[in-house]
Symmetry: C2
Subunit: 450 residues, 2 copies
Amino acid sequence: MQFELTEEFIEQIEQYISNNDGDALKGLLHGFHFADVAELLQELNHEEATYLVKLLDSEITSEALMELDDDFRERILDNLSPSEIADELDEMDTDDAADIIAELDDHIQKQVIDHIEDDEHAADIVDLLRYDEDTAGGLMAKELVRVKETWTVAGCVREMRRQAENVTRVHSIYVTDKHGKLKGRLSLKDLLTASERTHISEIYIPKVDYVNVNTEAEDVARIMQKYDLEAIPVVDDEGILVGRITIDDIVDFIKEEAEKDYQMAAGISQDVEADDSIFKLTKARLPWLMIGMLGGLGAASIITGFQSMMTTFPKIIIFVPLIQATAGNVGVQSSAIVVQGLANNTLKGNIITRLLKESLLALVNGIAIALVVLVISHFLFFTTFLESISIGIAIISVIILAALIGTFVPIVLDKRGIDPAVATGPFITTSNDIFGILTYFLIAKLILGF
Amino acid sequence: MQFELTEEFIEQIEQYISNNDGDALKGLLHGFHFADVAELLQELNHEEATYLVKLLDSEITSEALMELDDDFRERILDNLSPSEIADELDEMDTDDAADIIAELDDHIQKQVIDHIEDDEHAADIVDLLRYDEDTAGGLMAKELVRVKETWTVAGCVREMRRQAENVTRVHSIYVTDKHGKLKGRLSLKDLLTASERTHISEIYIPKVDYVNVNTEAEDVARIMQKYDLEAIPVVDDEGILVGRITIDDIVDFIKEEAEKDYQMAAGISQDVEADDSIFKLTKARLPWLMIGMLGGLGAASIITGFQSMMTTFPKIIIFVPLIQATAGNVGVQSSAIVVQGLANNTLKGNIITRLLKESLLALVNGIAIALVVLVISHFLFFTTFLESISIGIAIISVIILAALIGTFVPIVLDKRGIDPAVATGPFITTSNDIFGILTYFLIAKLILGF
């Protein structure tokens, strides 16, 4: 069943496009899944992609457009007229259509909305534009199957048939009172087994999970994951059913969040991709490099403070990079585990226990590393006994210190309501660099007494 | 609708457990969602949790058990008899039950299976044990609604009612031929609108996505995401429908994969949690620290080689930590972006273009950092003109070099079929430390000519 996009196929498509051979393209791409069309579009330049979007059926291209990178989609839409964009939106679910409209320039938005054929669809889209994109309202779609508690099973099935026309997939059947307030849901199983004259009020399940339009997207994701929901209804402050969120939107949301955390840990402060412009990439990367630079300058000050060692104990100086690397690595490990624990809510016990455990773990790792370094420094770098002891004790101390900082900082940030993920990566590495090198020199000074 | 687990509530529960007051507990926890029960269990110690699992209805606890951490669940199961475990499995979907059985010791497995009441359920579970856990077979469940193409709509609805008893949620209705070969799927909408005497063969949709039992889990996740599927049927090599995979399992899989990548980038080589034993955490963390240590020792050798500078140009030495930090940070940024691009299949163009772009980006960042350092080193650290120039040029070169290594290594690993994520974190930091410091000294030597 798997579709494989080959070089030859892409060349063939490009050939047809440059020949303006619409019929051949339609024939070649007939029956293609929208996700495969999206993959193909992504391989073309934006003029070629625009050509295909105009050529192919909106039923396919509307869904394919939603799968594209934001930047690439924007460039295609720039080449479409308001009425062509409206054709695409006509085929989209309201949540996707609202996302697209929100991306357009203000003066085009109104023109596009005016061109949407289905007035109800257009009104739904406009309604969705009110909500913040990071809330349940921003994620939800208007398409859902709703039945009233006063209906009979027969009337319900009739009404469902009508509604299902506009709904791609029936996730759940929601039951409301006559004012539209969410009352519960109807299981398909019960609908199938009940007699035609039964009233919905007798068979619906009054227990239903829901979220408010203003619930934050992150909480919606957490709730849907926790309760294994495939769809969740959204209500307004009066309890009126206004939309539903499906799991596929949440899957995308989870992936984006994971990517943001990953980038944050790598010292990239915005959501960027390898293909973004150099300006955008610099904006996301340079600030973190500057933090690292400040750390490096801090370390330079510390070494300057202990500069006399360059002549008295030059061998202490040559192990500075080792201390720095170890402090950075331990800090990142500790903070990453804590950040994940916080995100997954699996961090048990109080902060003191956690710090004690982390210290013990650091002690074990520290002794292991220190022993190896002790032997190597003595036999390969010919350090004196006291120098070796200084280095060994410093490594153990630095590892413990780095582990404590790496554990403590994210927990404190989280308690203060700041995303602990900012504490990973360059931030923790940089502070550990400075504290690590300072500790190293202080211990060396104490033991060697220069 | 949100459930909030308070300290007082947990204390209350613990109190009832220590008083052995089963009735009070049942009353207090009546109507609780399994996910909330799981959250509660996780807050108790394993004896208390075991008490609750034995006390409460298996319909709830079986699902709650699936939500627990593996280690914690194992400790609870250790306290249950084979027949008590079988009671839980009786209520579980076959995929979950098979996962649990696989976790048990060999001699208990057979006893538990013998105690499962429903023979068909037991046979299905045993069948699932054959498959590797990282394949479609290992993810799939046996519960699904299947109809034969020769049936009428009326017969189909009758049969569906029967089958739906065992299926918690009807995701899709699959159509097979009389030998059980997957032919297509049936849309609920079409079933609702067709007349009772229509044959299924006239209304089913012959186009259906599916995977083979041996398809790798990662590919299943990719396919389900790409095509926005909520469930996918699984067939064996003969095309016989043998099971189905639902999106909630895939959501868990995606989360686990994202966490693994995150940990890998942080230098943690196994799937560990903050609450794991010190031994397990050490095993996951120490190897990476050793790699970092080797890097540090390598850097020590390089400085030893340029040791004369400590007396001739001590100011060059004090900027070693700055060079090292910058090289490490740039390398991690570059590799993270490439690793994500590879994972998402969004990396366009060939490797030469990519390296050129990365070089240009590094040049921009490098000049920015170098200018700041140039000014600070000259005015605060009183470096000479030539020393400042050496440091500035070295920073630019090191940033470009680190960016190239960070970009090149993951792409090459990926081309060779190795997970590029191993190249992030300590690995790239360590190699960049060494190359960075070496480059720095070589440039300083060239310009200062010591």
